[in-house]
Symmetry: C2
Subunit: 428 residues, 2 copies
């Protein structure tokens, strides 16, 4: 039997403990597939004495992530600490400098420092694998970097944050406002310690920026993701959207356009009958559209101990088998520094506004839209009791600029009250 | 720049020509990802003079597949001839004996000779990759053999034959009987030269047997797939199923049970709202249920020049990168010889029969079912004009044996006319 692949695991939270349990429970299966035994040689975590319901008797305990990362008795540093700075970052670079391969679930770290890490890895002749950083148990990174490697990628679309998806689903099903469901989710422990990571779309945007780098051969540009969280999604928009045959999802879209690299993580309307709309709770979906392959959709659990451990083990087994290539699919020096697209590609839009209930009000809005070059697909005025009437419009495909011009012209109509709501409509 | 990876392509039909075009169109992209140039050194096909709209000027022409497979100027033999015997098989073994890696789309060959091929490959220190053999452009083999390698696999479910899916979809949408749609599909060129490969479920069963071997670490046992084609699917069953909230799909299921390895490729009812039911035309879906990952669903085009070429290139790029492991995920000598399960796991069933329109007829049938241990979830008697009434029953989950016992007892009731129809109900 060849020599075992020796892992050092930093971080024994849900995912770290899940990896330990999986390695212990399926050792024989993993060894058969990996071509050699996989063992955990050493671990570290913040609190040595916490009860984790995991057998650590066979592992050495390292005093710090950096100490673990540089131990001579590990081959692969498994970074499951999280966070874009501090011990995770220090240990990542220390591991590479010490000649270790790295497996990580840390999307924040890679989104912020991906290019520096890829460069450091190549300088050290090592690689960094991060299947667990994106979409939990779904092998989305592998599908993109390997399964579709023969394709020019046209577009990546996905729902990649289970907490946001849970909140939006629950709002729709229970008819509850955002704030109520947010508190409910907090009570259930569904939110990160800093909930903005989830509900502001930051976590999902981290993932999107990694997929975009792989898809388009560009440096990670998390800073260039156009980001909008779900905090402004109103229950009435969920209802109106539903009546028009749409659902609201926090949707990530990345595409290379003539105007540069477009990366967006924003609430969007998607057709109710589409697979994206049917995702419930923590289920993620990533759609990879290759020129030769056409769209390939992947769906599965986006988080949790089991799914994330599955992704970590996939990377570990790849390393054991010798499946090695540069972190973002091509050598770091070849990764282009992308020009971020300032304006998104044209799309249909959903508009909601309150109109003064007076003759000619609708006509004024329609004229403002027409003057801006926005043509109307559907328009509905809802029943109302107040002096204003809620009006919902679905436009034909139009440039975001045109929508902005129309919005700018609304005040002068004298009939649009308050701030109109605009939500982009996307499809798989 | 490292030395190029040199391909020899046997077979220049739709797929072979698609691979040539993709290599030529995306040479730079492929080289960047593969870490070395990929070039087609030599080709062969049945007819040298056929116009294929592909530039062959840079390639040598080999006089036969075996001659191509053994050329010293190729590294990888790409077998796109098809067929389980003859030149494809001869060339496959010749290539391995000559120390070449092999990439193939030939599901029939692998389904029949998979174990011998895996053994020959290992003896030669080479490997055989076959992403293109299953589900077209979907990286299903990679997801299973690599992406979920940390998982014990519980179940594989999928729709894997686009032609059958087209026929069933068209029957439903146009309200046409099987025979009419079959002729239509033949006219459109959708059917294989031997249409039984498609409509009898043989092609899809080939694919299922390969997925099962990878999933469960067993030798390929195509002979043990329980197979039933779509030729007996009646338009009235599609209608009744629809009214009950189901669609009929040719569904593959493989699972390892206490009674052995179960492999089935048969028409099944699936819930209308499920992603499997929503597949249209040539779209395939494969659901891989791992113990740690939970179910992972993959969807995409199941055939065609582009998607299949994408799968071939994924394998080629893997080989160029050095991603090598045994053909079925573990060494051939470790593949278990599975005990085929004789009887399928319990499931709900759909039953349709014609009952004599006389008092007590339904009660007799219900009694026969109860006596056999089959409990009824729903029963509907349809409006009718003849002396017999069509009755449709959905059972609760029950053993297939129980259904068989009930069917055996029906003649004695004196009220069941003709042969009842039974179709299994499956879910993702």
């Amino acid at each position: 039997m060849p020599a075992p692949l020796r892992l050092g695991i930093a971080g024994l939270g849900t995912v770290g403990a899940g990896v330990m349990r999986l390695v212990q429970a399926e050792g024989a299966l993993i060894a058969a597939r990996a071509g050699r035994p996989v063992q955990v040689t050493a671990v570290t975590a913040r609190d040595r004495n916490r009860n984790r319901d995991v057998d650590l008797s066979g592992c050495a305990w390292a005093e710090s992530p950096v100490a673990l990362a540089t131990r001579p008795d590990i081959d692969v540093f498994v970074e499951l600490i999280g966070g874009e700075t501090g011990p995770a970052r220090d240990a990542m670079f220390a591991a590479l400098a010490a000649g270790k391969d790295v497996v990580t679930a840390n999307k924040a770290l890679l989104a912020h420092h991906g290019h520096a890490i890829a460069t450091a890895a190549e300088a050290a002749g090592r690689t960094v694998r991060f299947e667990a950083a994106v979409a939990g148990g779904i092998p989305a990174i592998k599908a993109l970097a390997e399964g579709l490697a023969g394709n020019r990628i046209r577009r990546v679309v996905g729902v990649m944050n289970g907490t946001c998806n849970y909140i939006l689903t629950r709002m729709e099903e229970a008819g509850l406002p955002y704030e109520a469901v947010f508190e409910e989710a907090r009570g259930l422990g569904y939110l990160e310690a800093d909930p903005r990571l989830d509900v502001d779309g930051i976590d999902a945007a981290h993932k999107l920026s990694l997929l975009a780098a792989l898809a388009f051969g560009t440096r990670v540009r998390f800073d260039a993701v156009q980001m909008e969280g779900i905090g402004r999604v109103r229950i009435e928009d969920i209802r109106h959207a539903g009546e028009l045959g749409f659902r609201i999802k926090l949707l990530g879209v990345a595409q290379m356009t003539g105007r540069g690299l477009e990366q967006r993580m924003t609430p969007c309307l998607v057709p109710m009958a589409s697979p994206l709309a049917q995702l419930r709770g923590g289920t993620n979906m990533v759609v990879l559209d290759g020129e030769a392959s056409g769209p390939i959709a992947l769906r599965g659990a986006g988080a949790g101990a089991g799914p994330t451990a599955s992704a970590v083990l996939a990377d570990v087994i790849d390393l054991a088998r010798g499946n090695r290539y540069p972190m973002f699919g091509i050598p770091a020096a070849m990764l282009a520094d992308p020009v971020p697209a300032v304006v998104a590609a044209p799309a249909p839009y959903y508009l909601r506004m309150d109109l003064l209930d007076r003759p000619g009000a609708l006509a004024r809005v329609a004229t403002a839209l027409a003057d801006a070059g926005v043509s109307i697909d559907r328009m509905r005025q809802r029943a109302h009791e107040a002096q204003t009437a809620p009006v919902v419009i679905v436009t034909h495909r139009c440039a975001p600029d045109a929508i902005a011009h129309a919005l700018a012209a609304f005040p002068a109509t004298g009939v649009v009250m308050g701030e109109p709501v605009t939500i982009r409509i996307e499809a798989e």
